[in-house]
């Protein structure tokens, strides 16, 4: 894949990135796994957790991981510039117009719909992730503990990731040591 082509794909992704950064996951899966088969579903799942473990904006981090995977460090730079291209010009050129549109009821209506579609997209992604993972006792345990930690104990994603990575790796090390 040429860098130019990669740039165009990320410009497109940036343009439809509505309703917050989380839609990046369904969009990435659709674009790079389903349509182009350039990245495996497994990789996208890993990048999602990795993107959240690093500081910065999740959607940008994920784009850079995929960019690097496909074309090395220039791929990462191109992904960064591509995904922010449309959002950047939208703000620079339209900011003054948009600030009057924020309270427009049509815009509010459309945003309400977009919000619902984002939930649907994320639920579908959860379903797909779940279907495509190798599920064993280890998977179920970590999954359920992660969910409880986030929802009940309200730890931040980064704290949760660090905690369970340590526990998971420690457990695997312990089992390895005994075998």
């Amino acid at each position: 894949m040429s860098l130019f082509k990669l740039f165009i794909i990320f410009v497109k992704i940036g343009a439809i990135l509505l309703g917050g950064g989380y839609v990046i996951l369904p969009i990435m899966t659709s674009e790079f796994v389903d349509k182009r088969k350039l990245v495996s579903h497994d990789d996208v799942v890993d990048y999602f957790a990795l993107a959240q473990s690093l500081p910065g904006i999740i959607a940008a981090n994920m784009s850079m991981f995929i960019g690097y995977k496909l074309r090395g460090k220039w791929g990462a730079i191109i992904a960064m510039l591509g995904v922010t291209f449309v959002p950047f010009w939208c703000i620079v050129l339209l900011a003054s117009v948009l600030s009057t549109l924020v309270n427009n009821s049509y815009v509010q209506g459309a945003l309400w719909g977009v919000g619902v579609s984002v939930i649907a997209l994320i639920m579908l992604t959860v379903r797909e992730m779940w279907q495509k993972s190798k599920k064993n006792a280890f998977f179920y345990t970590i999954f359920i503990l992660t969910l409880i930690t986030l929802l009940v104990f309200k730890l931040s994603p980064i704290q949760t990731i660090l905690l369970f990575t340590l526990i998971g790796v420690g457990y695997k090390r312990f089992r390895e040591g005994r075998a």
């Binding site: 940036g14 343009a15 439809i16 509505l18 917050g20 839609v23 996951l25 369904p26 659709s30 497994d42 890993d46 999602f48 957790a49 990795l50 500081p55 910065g56 904006i57 999740i58 959607a59 981090n61 850079m64 690097y68 990462a76 959002p87 950047f88 939208c90 703000i91 339209l94 900011a95 948009l98 549109l101 924020v102 009821s105 049509y106 509010q108 209506g109 459309a110 945003l111 719909g113 919000g115 619902v116 579609s117 984002v118 939930i119 649907a120 994320i122 639920m123 579908l124 959860v126 779940w130 280890f138 998977f139 970590i142 992660t146 931040s156 994603p157 369970f164 998971g168 790796v169 090390r173």
Partner: protein, 178 residues
């Protein structure tokens, strides 16, 4: 001089903001207090605009804050400075993962990240769903969108556009009723 400050402030946001999006707002608030680049009212307006334009809110707000501070150059500088720290980290992490892909610990981390990743996204879905539970129209639209895709997967844009369209219709309907 303003460009050096702008670079430094947004680079710091890139280093210290975890969890994206709205996590950057406390930093932007701090900037509005220290420098006279924009007022608190303007910040509120920026966040509102940033959430209706495409792109991650955390980056859009940086672009907008840069624009208010120092025009178009400022906005390019703020946007790139904010992503620069993660660009370095992504490249380093990707290199390490590739180099040590056979290492026991790297494999264990990757295997552990999968269920964690599933858990994180499920929590996001639950968090987004919770405030909509009482909105019966939202639940019907959600159920319809899910039903539509249960058998065959469609392009994400397909759902976004359909839902936006239905949202506008719904508002026209509400306005006419009053």
């Amino acid at each position: 001089m303003i460009f050096i400050h702008l670079f430094w402030e947004f680079f710091k946001i890139g280093v210290f903001s975890f969890g994206g999006g709205y996590a950057t707002i406390p930093f932007l608030y701090h900037i509005s207090q220290v420098y006279n680049w924009y007022s608190l009212d303007e910040l509120t307006q920026m966040v509102a605009v940033a959430s209706i334009t495409p792109g991650p809110v955390g980056i859009n707000v940086a672009t907008y804050a840069g624009l208010k501070s120092a025009g178009i150059l400022g906005s390019a500088l703020a946007t790139i400075s904010e992503m620069l720290p993660s660009l370095f980290l992504v490249i380093i992490v990707s290199k390490l993962l590739k180099k040590f892909s056979d290492n026991f610990y790297v494999r264990a981390i990757i295997e552990t990240l999968k269920p964690i990743s599933c858990g994180l996204l499920t929590a996001v879905a639950i968090g987004l769903l919770k405030p909509e539970i009482k909105d019966i129209k939202a639940i019907i639209l959600l159920a319809a969108l899910l039903l539509l895709s249960w058998k065959s997967k469609k392009d994400p844009l397909f759902y976004i556009l359909i839902a936006a369209f239905i949202g506008v219709i719904n508002f026209i309907y509400i306005i006419q009723k009053h």
